[in-house]
């Protein structure tokens, strides 16, 4: 496989991730569908690629005092325990089966994102409408008096 295709896939995944959306959820299907990378390998690539990017982001957020270490301290122990458990389990699952399960997972994530996008649209509309009403009232008020 040509190296520049891999760089391109990473570029696209990073682009989406940098915009605050799940970069990994897109990088994995790009690697498997377009570049023929095996499903387990693609997932491992995503985990490893996240580490340097995540590290830089965390350093910046720490500087800006945006990290909640109390929450981190409680959540991290059960999270690591189940992550290791499920990563061990995934090694036992065949590539084709894992690919299908991953596809189902993407559909759930996609539907969830669609729901959130629609919610944002509704909220934005409300925000836009409120000042227009105020403006109309104000202009009517000034016209009448």
């Amino acid at each position: 496989m040509a190296w520049y295709f891999l760089v391109l896939a990473g570029l696209f995944g990073g682009l989406v991730g940098g915009m605050g959306m799940g970069g990994g959820t897109l990088l994995i299907p790009i690697l498997t569908m377009f570049l023929g990378v095996e499903q387990h390998l693609a997932q491992a690539i995503n985990l490893l690629v996240f580490i340097p990017t995540g590290l830089i982001a965390v350093l910046i957020h720490a500087k800006n005092k945006l990290l909640d270490f109390k929450v981190f301290g409680i959540i991290i122990i059960p999270a690591i325990a189940t992550a290791v458990g499920s990563a061990l389990l995934v090694g036992e699952i065949k590539s084709d089966t894992l690919r299908i399960i991953f596809g189902a997972f993407l559909i759930i994530i996609g539907l969830f994102e669609l729901y959130q996008a629609i919610n944002t649209t509704i909220k934005n509309k409300r925000k836009i409408n409120t000042p227009i009403i105020k403006h109309n009232l104000y202009s009517r008020f000034s016209r009448d008096f």
């Binding site: 897109l26 945006l66 990290l67 991953f102």
Partner: protein, 118 residues
């Protein structure tokens, strides 16, 4: 911190761990809304989610590596692209409408999911 918040965090942690270990990603997409539900502000939730995802990803990656699922050259090339993409993405975020991006992302993820199923 209340008992219900602590138990909420423990359950959230378990779910995030299962997802990220099993799928090699996607934990952050569950982590951010979970932290928002548990009362964190938007920016804090996003930043803390990355802090949480970091050790989880390292732990999962170690397991994947010990199972023989790592090809370092591929990782290197993808990582190079990803770091540049990340910088450009963070810059573009300020320029583009977030809502339109949300729709595009949702549709792309949905179609990728359907394509992978069949």
């Amino acid at each position: 911190m209340t008992v219900s918040k602590i138990s909420g965090l423990v359950v959230a942690g378990m779910v995030i761990g299962v997802i990220n270990g099993f799928f090699g990603g996607g934990g952050g997409m569950i982590c951010v809304p979970a932290l928002l539900l548990l009362g964190l502000k938007n920016k804090e939730a996003q930043a803390t989610a990355i802090l949480i995802m970091l050790p989880i990803s390292i732990a999962s990656a170690i397991v994947y590596y010990s199972n023989g699922f790592v090809d370092w050259w591929t990782v290197l090339f993808v990582a190079i692209g990803s770091i540049f993409g990340g910088i450009v993405g963070a810059y573009l975020l300020k320029k583009l409408s977030n809502n339109v991006l949300q729709y595009i992302f949702a549709v792309v993820v949905l179609s990728a999911g359907i394509r992978m199923l069949f």
